[in-house]
Symmetry: D2
Subunit: 335 residues, 4 copies
């Protein structure tokens, strides 16, 4: 039985708490949060103790921590946790600064403790089925990957301003999916973006609509489309063209009902938000982390992969600004 603690009792922390308590091999014993009352409320609900981060890291009876705090604290907490001998599952992104993320990668390597990054979409049953079919050779060599990822609505402008920008905040998921499916990071990235949804986002120096093209050394290409607003709900799809055919993971709808009238055939909308879409993925993510710790296997999503996604975001941000293709260099990947 793994004894674990949760750092961060906000929205996403509460989602994780559910998986952590449901898993038969882990016991959530402590919760910390910058707001002590938030930690206490959550701890009371799930039968754990509210503690400070220091107390948790200093408690040798705790094996692992899940970091679900604000992004600017990730690097510091990962470094402190591995130094304290904890295994870590940290929410994405590792950091908004590639430099700091690389330092964290070094610290974790030095400490020799396992760190997993919470790219939950890898655990979505649909994307996982696509990946399994591809790895099983069902369409032969991969050639052209397309990822569509639209949010239902833009976040508040205040959030946008501190988010690190669309490429680091939103497309980071898609960079990870592309690197995961193609087995490593690309060589070059080209980005085009604009503020079509909200001019205020443009005024804040960010984009809300973007297309990024990734090119691997051997010629494979991935293209990612992001929009901060799909209106009809959450839209998350992947298509992969291979030498032998196409694999497509389609979007997830609210139900299977269709209504056909003189106005046409109306199906249900996509599920509206990421929590509905990915609840199962969060559960499977936690299970995978626990399984890997138990078996001593490699982390299902490594910290190095978390850094690679950030390096892609960095390159895309630069390309969108300059209009030139940007390289993803070994140095950016911590090689």
């Amino acid at each position: 039985m793994l004894r674990v603690a949760l750092l961060g009792a906000g929205r996403i922390g509460q989602v994780h708490a559910k998986s952590m308590t449901a898993n038969a091999d882990s016991r959530l014993v402590a919760v910390a949060d910058a707001h002590a009352e938030a930690a206490q409320a959550l701890a009371a609900r799930i039968g754990a103790e509210a503690k400070t981060v220091d107390e948790i890291l200093g408690d040798t009876g705790i094996d692992a921590v899940l970091i679900a705090t604000s992004t600017d604290t990730h690097s510091d907490l990962i470094q402190r946790a591995v130094a304290a001998g904890k295994a870590v599952l940290c929410e994405k992104p590792v950091d908004l600064s590639l430099e700091r993320a690389l330092a964290t990668l070094k610290a974790a390597d030095d400490a020799g403790r396992p760190v997993m990054i919470g790219f939950n979409r890898r655990f979505d049953p649909n994307f996982a089925a696509l990946k399994a079919a591809f790895d099983g050779g069902e369409i032969g060599k991969g050639e052209l990957l397309s990822i569509t990822s639209f949010d239902p609505a833009p976040p508040p402008l205040e959030y946008v301003k501190v988010s690190g920008g669309l490429f680091r905040d939103m497309m980071i998921h898609d960079f990870d999916m592309a690197c995961w499916i193609f087995g490593g990071p690309p060589a070059r990235i080209t980005a085009t973006g604009s503020a079509m949804v909200d001019p205020e986002i443009g005024a804040a120096g960010d984009v809300d609509t973007a297309v990024v093209t990734m090119l691997w050394e051997d010629g494979r290409i991935a293209v990612i489309k992001n929009s901060r607003r799909a209106g009809y709900g959450y839209d998350q799809r992947i298509e992969l063209l291979g030498a032998g055919g196409l694999l497509a993971a389609k979007n997830v709808l609210e139900n299977t009902v269709e209504k056909i009238t003189a106005e046409g055939a109306v199906s249900a909308k996509p599920v509206h938000f990421f929590l509905e879409r990915y609840m199962r993925a969060y559960e499977d993510e936690w299970t995978a982390f626990v399984e890997a710790l138990k078996s001593g296997a490699d982390m299902p999503v490594t910290l190095r992969e978390g850094v690679a996604a950030l390096a892609c975001a960095e390159a895309a941000t630069r390309s969108a600004r300059t209009g030139e293709t940007a390289a993803v260099t070994p140095a950016m990947l911590g090689a």
Copy 2:
């Protein structure tokens, strides 16, 4: 907080135990089973006590029981439970004998305790969405209802022999769906059946493939198709033609991945079994029972409706034997 007990710790009892413990408004305190060890094992796992049926019915601290025992015990247990003042949620069917079911209906009416029958499909999100759209007037008056209901594989022959036959054992669900959607039982039923899947089923006096047509007094028609074997998995669909259009609840697939090659476009199979398809429905069923008890509202599925489904099965069984249309009389409905 409702204190509840579970009668029956077999496969379906264990499914219900999960919903009963997850619900914040009910506390599962006791489990009984004809096999004491089964009751003990389940009770231990969920933190309840293993008791006998007598102990449970005699415990005034228990408000309600869920009956998930074998069908031949349903009538007796319902009658004893309501006599003991318990509210009841009983698995379908009420009984294999319409006569006994009618006696149970009378007993429950006399006792004045609420009894719900566990027609779980009403709580499937897809069928519930179809029903809501229809009740909301989206296709006008209903005219022609079609229910497709195929199992992945026939049950063991030994089960078939004591099942009461396909109409009482399997199509009972679909009879309830038809009566639920059209707001009451039909006037006449015509049935055609044969043993296409397994001649042994035919030798045992049952059918494994059947079509039943139901006619309401005002001319509305429903047709139900059943097969004991779909091969590709569980196939559960509903179509309703109305004056203004068609509503269709399609089947549920394992995932959204499609593979397109020179051999065609391959989508995922349907989910294979009723537990995968209806797990959410079981949860919502229990929630609905608890909500109704708390609010004092009518049961979401009444015992009378359970009797009506059985009356339809009775009429279908007779029609399949005689080749003649069979009436569903007021007496059969306990009117």
Copy 3:
């Protein structure tokens, strides 16, 4: 080069004229119609001559006739045409009277001339693909066949009154499809019908909504659903459950465009009328007739099969009236 004539220059005659002139192996040389002007107008448009039926049947230079006149003239014209040595393609149904149809069958057999009945749906690319997959063994032995066939709107009441009723006029197509797919006529038929769409149709002694179940000697079952009004357009679908899986021919939509908004995902309506849906089928039907004449092969749809569909309609009409299952006897099939 086959020299052919068209009897009947109405709507469906004009549809056939198009196929007859497009085919490189047939030359449409003459057109007859009860209204001489109609024959003249069509003949002028396509470069043929307007003639009387007598002139056409007496012209030894004409090899074959297509009969597209009103149903009450079919039997007489078939008999006269085969007596005159012509090959015949006659629109469905053979007749409204099974007795007369059987006499026509005898006459054609005596004359030894090929007669094909125009069940156009067999030539629909979708239904033909389903049939080919089934005949190719892709789902093993057929067990349960379902045919959905809804018209966009009922015909004028005056037409309904002389149509012979829904079973002979509309469901005749579906009877043929069922017999075609299952390789011969059923043993027993059970019918349920009502007038849900228009009470005037009921007052005229007909139904507009009906479900028919067909049972073959070996236990195979087919169920046909008909409605005179689908509202959203033409709805023509087939599903066949076999020992190894399911084959489904879905409906045909106007285009492939989908619109997804907060109201849901809207696809195009079905094509609205049979001419849009089956234009290609009419062309392929004529081609198949010409090919069979050239090669001396059996007719793709025999007169005997046309009689069998009518025998099914006769049995269904009887069953709907009596509430009892009706046999399809050898005598009814001209055996």
Copy 4:
């Protein structure tokens, strides 16, 4: 009645000949081809005369010509035809040289004769329905357009070498679709390409897999994906995200049959080649040309639009070579 001639009796010329003879408002009177026998064979089949290009252009009884010769002759033939007073429908692309295409544009403007470019996909019923829905305001302002365009197999290497490259030869269609849907050419283009399908194509200096991003002045973005090989057939799809939702024109399948077995649900393949997919589009294209000539309306696809698509191809070719975003300047558009 328009009297028209066809220049070019090859594969695509024969496709056009079919539409030209079927149209009731045009009469195809003459055919020319570099191979006189090809012209004679086609002319004989359709009842026209084989003539030389000079004879056709010198015949004042001929109102319009359709140019379906090899690409390198387009500019010259357009210029000679308009100088001879003919209206012109010319196959795409206008030319492989933007410079020559601009000269042709000037010549046509000077001559004042209407010239239409044969971008057939605009007339595909699915794409036309998407465009109509968008223009009708059904999803509000367009923000992000995606075009997927995969061929079933690469053309022969000899063709690739003289084709002008993927951007001019294949993606030219998609450039036109993007400019058509967004109402004019983009400001900037970024291209990424590689030879994933066949290294010989790469050795010949071309790519077979490419992604192009187009950016309009107001921030709208379009992304085009091309592959020379989809394996499963022709894959042509469009998706448009707008402020109010998404419009998607899906691919066209061979038929509507689905087979569901334990291996999954198999639908039909896409239609295999552009002639099957776009036959109807070619007919509607010719009809639109004839209608515009009759009414004096603007050409449905102008020569200037043909030049704009070529300018996009030019910019994409440059961007793919340099890795930098390329501008589409007014000079390139003949402004």
